[in-house]
Amino acid sequence: MLLETSSLTKSFGGLVAVDRIDLAIRKGEVRGIIGPNGSGKSTLFNLISGVYRADPGGKVVFDGRDITNADPHRIARLGVARTFQLLRIFGGMSALENLLIGHHGLIRYGTASAILGTRRVRAEERRVRQEMMELLSFIGLADFAEMPAAEMSIGQRRLLALGRAIAMRPKLLMLDEPAAGLSPVNVDKLLETVLALKSRYGLTVVIIEHILKVVMETCETITVLDHGEKIAEGPPAAIKEDHRVIEAYLGKEMDDAEVREFLRAS
């Protein structure tokens, strides 16, 4: 297993946002995590990536290492890259610089040589700039390399956030609603890019998504959360017909006829 969590819990005061989640993600898998608003999906990401501290008893193991409550930058350097729902790209920096920051952990020169501006620093800078330009072309943003990220369109910014995560050369890529706010055509384009990147870099991918089409088409296994708890897990076909999942989304019990009606409509 590349990533394993056991009874991972996070409560804010009386509200239990993530409730004893056990998750096991194989190397090379594409996992979808779905659930209604406020079901704890993003909180789960924040726990894994070290943004939040987990409640005592919970555990996160990545690639054989216990990373529970480690500093976010350490987790990132071990090979966990994530995107944010609100992207959080560096608006005042160019597209190329955004990728270069993603590549930060892999740049090999020390503080002292950077201050002195040694030959080695210049050679390394040339190398990583070229490498990041290649990645920019791969995600189709090469023409915007020098553009401040704040001035790009939402679709371009989503691609850039994805590129910044890829620039980290991660083992695990965690995408938080990568398709939100995109037109259907752009959603397809983004999915293609994600899958192309996955096979090119041999990634394991976890996707949080609201647009069901995205997870149903791309994920091998889907985990469903509701009120912080895991209520279902399995292949898309099984999840589609799971009564608890449909209830969680629609908020009431349904008989089989209603379920069939819902599925036909969706």
Partner: protein, 321 residues
């Protein structure tokens, strides 16, 4: 071409400057400009690039100045050893002033560093061994081959290489991965951490590097003729002037500190007759700059260059069509 070559050319071109300015006062102003460049470039690193709103920079300069003064008079170190020691002491002080930044941001960090800075100044005025409110006198000038460099023209040859070296270092830091990490933690510390940037480490680096600059500038001011420093040179008023240099020149612009230090020092000197209005004027300029020219003069120059490049591309395309 090695990137240090333009700087060497710069030194050579600027070498005869005091000869073109026979007036000692003008030579003095040139030295002050160069020292202010060191101060402002250092402040731009921590504030403009790393985004840490510190008001403690002037206190670090005071620590540099007084350390250098004490080391050269009481310990008897020559200038050439007192300056680097003062720079290192200032660096350590910078690390300390940077610690509140682990937990505080924006205006709160400004208040915390303001408290630290004022305590330093008040502690100096209250310490008789440091000259107290009378000031510290008889700080020796640097000696070279037994000759004192106590005229403004000769001191220029100490200040110029140091100022250009400081600028060279700032350029190489800010254009490297460290400069990018600074900007990332200014833009979004959480996202920076998610990209593997050790936010605390880079905050400390930014504070320490900028403190090294302040310490160097402080020491240079202390040893400049007439070898006298006073706690009143390190008040919040002086800090506002420093901030004005960075904001006016271009906050977060690689040339910002340099442009700002040159212009503000000259304007400051030309308006000296109206000193009672200076602070009101400077405060007004800060507000107007932030409102109408948020990236300062450096930003305006960038804008002009981008537009020119854009027009050139359009020209080429329309010619092709």
């Amino acid at each position: 071409m090695h990137p240090i070559v333009p700087w060497l050319i710069g030194i050579v071109v600027l070498l005869p400057l005091p000869l073109l300015m026979p007036n000692a006062y003008q030579q003095y102003i040139v030295n002050v400009i160069l020292i202010n460049i060191i101060l402002a470039v250092g402040l731009n690193i921590v504030k403009g690039f790393a985004g840490q709103v510190t008001v403690g920079h002037i206190a670090i300069a005071a620590i540099g100045a007084y350390s250098s003064a004490v080391l050269s008079t009481k310990v008897g170190l020559p200038f050439w050893l007192a300056l680097p020691s003062a720079v290192l002491i200032a660096g350590a002080a910078g690390a300390m002033i940077g610690i509140p930044s682990f937990r505080l941001e924006g205006a709160y960090l400004a208040l915390a560093t303001l408290g630290l800075a004022e305590s330093v100044r008040i502690a100096i005025s209250a310490t008789d061994a440091l000259g107290g409110a009378i000031g510290y006198q008889n700080i020796p000038p640097p000696f070279l081959f037994g000759q004192p460099l106590d005229t403004h023209a000769s001191y220029y040859y100490v200040v110029l290489p140091l100022a250009l070296t400081a600028m060279y270092f700032s350029f190489s830091i800010l254009r490297s991965d460290i400069g990018r990490a600074f900007k990332a933690l200014r833009e979004d510390p959480l996202a920076a951490a998610a990209c593997g940037v050790d936010v605390r480490r880079y905050k400390v680096i930014a504070f320490v590097v900028s403190a090294l600059y302040a310490g160097c500038a402080g020491s240079l001011l202390a040893h400049m003729s007439p070898g006298f420093i006073h706690p009143n040179s390190y008040t919040i008023t002086e800090m506002v002037t420093l901030l004005l240099m960075v904001v006016f020149g271009g906050i977060g612009h690689i040339w910002g500190g340099v442009i700002g230090a040159i212009l503000v020092t000259i304007i400051y000197d030309l308006t000296r007759d109206y000193y009672q209005y200076q602070m009101a004027m400077f405060g007004g300029v800060v507000v107007l700059t932030v409102l109408y020219m948020p990236k300062g003069i450096g930003g305006l120059i960038d804008q002009y260059l981008v537009r020119r490049r854009f027009n050139a591309i359009r020209q080429v395309k329309s010619n092709a069509a």
